[in-house]
């Protein structure tokens, strides 16, 4: 389990994280979403112990180990895949993983079997003897993942792990996460919302260094089911249409959309629109509900990213 409470981090005068709090339950796969520059990678870097949070941070616990008090012990509980995996091109895959295993404190006698296991897990056994410099981006990404799995750490932090993978490899990666689910607590940062929707049990959205949504699958599925936009096109040129539509209970916003109107509402208000049309004697040319998606939720909750 990962527990973060009031985590703040500043780079000079710029606040990158504003007292964020969230939890990743044991054995779950949690999607960590947010625009570029929102603070995703910074949060992951704190969790890997690379960055030290500001003194006001209350609690950062990784698999029962207080990261603020004992960062080195916490390191042993975490396997991470960075956004870009910088691998030494001069080494062979097995040499590199051997080095990483010895740095992670794996006993010499079990390094060989451990390497076989992780290479098999990421479907890269065939490149064990190849130099890293000759590998494709997809294979490099898999070697990064194999590195994260060395020592079977209970917590995995994955920052854009499917970047550079082909569709077959992405499918394989999803199957791998399914196998790891339950035994590992996984925090997955990704921009591929479809992937998050398919894989994750829980999502956590961050925007401008603040957590703006933290929900499990049931809650966000329900949210998507009730939210969404409605497009209505009415054969009348009446300036009062907008205010009439806005007056419908549950409607949050009405904007012009070409020749029609786009309504954002908390619930499905098509029936109320029909009733109103009858009352006002409008002729409805189109009445369509576009269900909310994770993408629309993302766009609604997050502000546009600022590159850092």
């Amino acid at each position: 389990m990962i527990e973060v409470e009031s985590l703040s981090l500043s780079f000079g005068s710029r606040r990158a994280l504003e007292a964020i709090s969230f939890q990743v339950p044991s054995g779950s796969v949690t999607g960590f979403l947010g625009p570029n520059g929102a603070g995703k990678t910074t949060t992951l870097r704190v969790l890997t112990t690379w960055l030290l949070p500001d003194p006001g941070t209350t609690r950062v616990v990784v698999d029962g180990v207080d990261l603020l008090r004992d960062p080195r012990r916490a390191c042993g509980r975490i396997g991470s895949v960075l956004e870009t995996v910088p691998l030494p091109s001069e080494l062979r895959v097995c040499e590199y993983l051997q080095l990483r295993a010895s740095l992670k404190g794996i006993p010499r006698a079990s390094i060989s079997s451990e390497l076989s296991r992780v290479l098999q897990e990421v479907d890269a056994s065939d490149v064990g003897r190849r130099r890293i410099g000759t590998l494709s981006q997809g294979y490099r990404q898999r070697i990064g993942l194999a590195d994260a799995l060395i020592g079977n750490p209970p917590v995995l932090l994955l920052d854009e792990p499917t970047r550079g993978l082909d569709p077959r490899q992405v499918t394989h990666f999803r199957q791998l996460l399914d196998r790891l689910r339950g035994d590992h607590t996984i925090l997955l940062s990704s921009h591929v919302l479809g992937e998050v929707e398919q894989i994750c049990d829980r999502i956590c959205m961050i925007s401008e260094g603040r957590i703006c949504l933290e929900e499990d699958r049931d809650a966000w599925t329900e949210r998507l089911a009730t939210a969404g936009s409605i497009r209505v096109e009415i054969a009348a040129d009446n300036p009062a249409i907008k205010s009439d539509l806005e007056a419908i209970s549950g409607v949050r916003d009405v904007v012009a959309d070409g020749s029609g109107w786009l309504l954002t509402s908390d619930s499905d208000v098509r029936q109320q629109i029909g009733t109103l049309a009858r009352e006002k004697d409008w002729t409805i040319l189109e009445l369509r509900r576009d269900p909310a998606t994770l993408e629309s939720l993302f766009l609604q909750l997050t502000v546009s990213g600022v590159a850092t």
């Binding site: 112990t49 690379w50 080195r72 012990r73 030494p88 001069e90 080494l91 010895s102 740095l103």
Partner: protein
């Protein structure tokens, strides 16, 4: 300990696959070979003098000042620039282990360079008598000065992310330690200020003693302390830049 050995081996390997390292080896052997040859012609068969000329002359000091910064310039700077330092430091390895292994790899490479000169002495011993004790103490001096200057190189590499800037900074630091010795000519013999200059002078703490086979315990203590101090400061710089 096994982590330090693994890291040192990996750093040594990455040094040997770099073209910079092979260029350093080539230039070093060329310059030192020429120096050896010219000194041999000038010492009139006195091999003790040859040791002093090879391991105490201006070319020797030039190599001492320039080679360690060039070897160590990529140690931390390059890792930081590529992002691999983050991967390394988040495996639970302590900052001091990383600094020590980087220094050790640099120092071993530096010693290997000087060991490459030993066959020349082997060749010479077939036609004359080489004083092994004097040669050994000269190499002790090389090892100690190299340890200190490699440590300043690692410190410079921790301060900046640009290898060339790191090499320049380390050379300037080494040069400072070297040139401070020549400040003594500003004072009259017996002036109290001379004692302070001697405390900080690299040349004073190698001097002629070792190339004459005289072992003074103060020399390893000074260089040992200097090396440890530099590595300690590097660890602190790394901690500070990381967090």
């Amino acid at each position: 300990m096994s982590r330090i050995i693994s890291l040192t081996r990996r750093d040594l390997l990455s040094l040997f696959v770099s073209p910079v390292a092979w260029t350093i080896i080539f230039v070093f052997l060329l310059v030192m070979g020429l120096t050896f040859h010219l000194s041999l012609l000038g010492v009139d068969g006195d091999l003790r003098q040859l040791v002093a000329a090879t391991y105490g002359g201006l070319v020797f000091w030039f190599m001492m000042l320039v080679i360690p910064p060039l070897v160590s310039m990529r140690a931390l700077a390059e890792e930081r620039r590529l992002g691999s330092l983050e991967m390394l430091m988040t495996t639970g390895v302590s900052d001091s282990s990383v600094v020590f292994s980087k220094w050790l790899a640099t120092w071993v490479f530096f010693l290997l360079l000087w060991i490459c000169l030993l066959p020349l002495w082997g060749l010479l011993s077939t036609v004359g008598r080489v004083d092994v004790g004097v040669l050994f103490s000269a190499y002790l001096g090389v090892a100690m000065v190299g340890a200190g200057f490699c440590a300043t190189g690692i410190l410079a590499s921790a301060v900046t992310s640009h290898p060339l800037a790191s090499a320049g900074l380390a050379t300037a630091m080494n040069m400072g330690l070297f040139l401070i010795h020549w400040l003594r000519f500003l004072y009259q013999p017996g002036d109290l200020e001379l004692r302070w200059i001697d405390h900080f002078s690299a040349v004073h703490h190698l001097g002629d003693e070792l190339t004459r086979g005289i072992f003074d315990l103060r020399i390893p203590i000074w260089w040992g302390t200097f090396t440890i101090l530099m590595l300690f400061v590097t660890t602190k710089v790394l901690e500070r830049r990381r967090w």
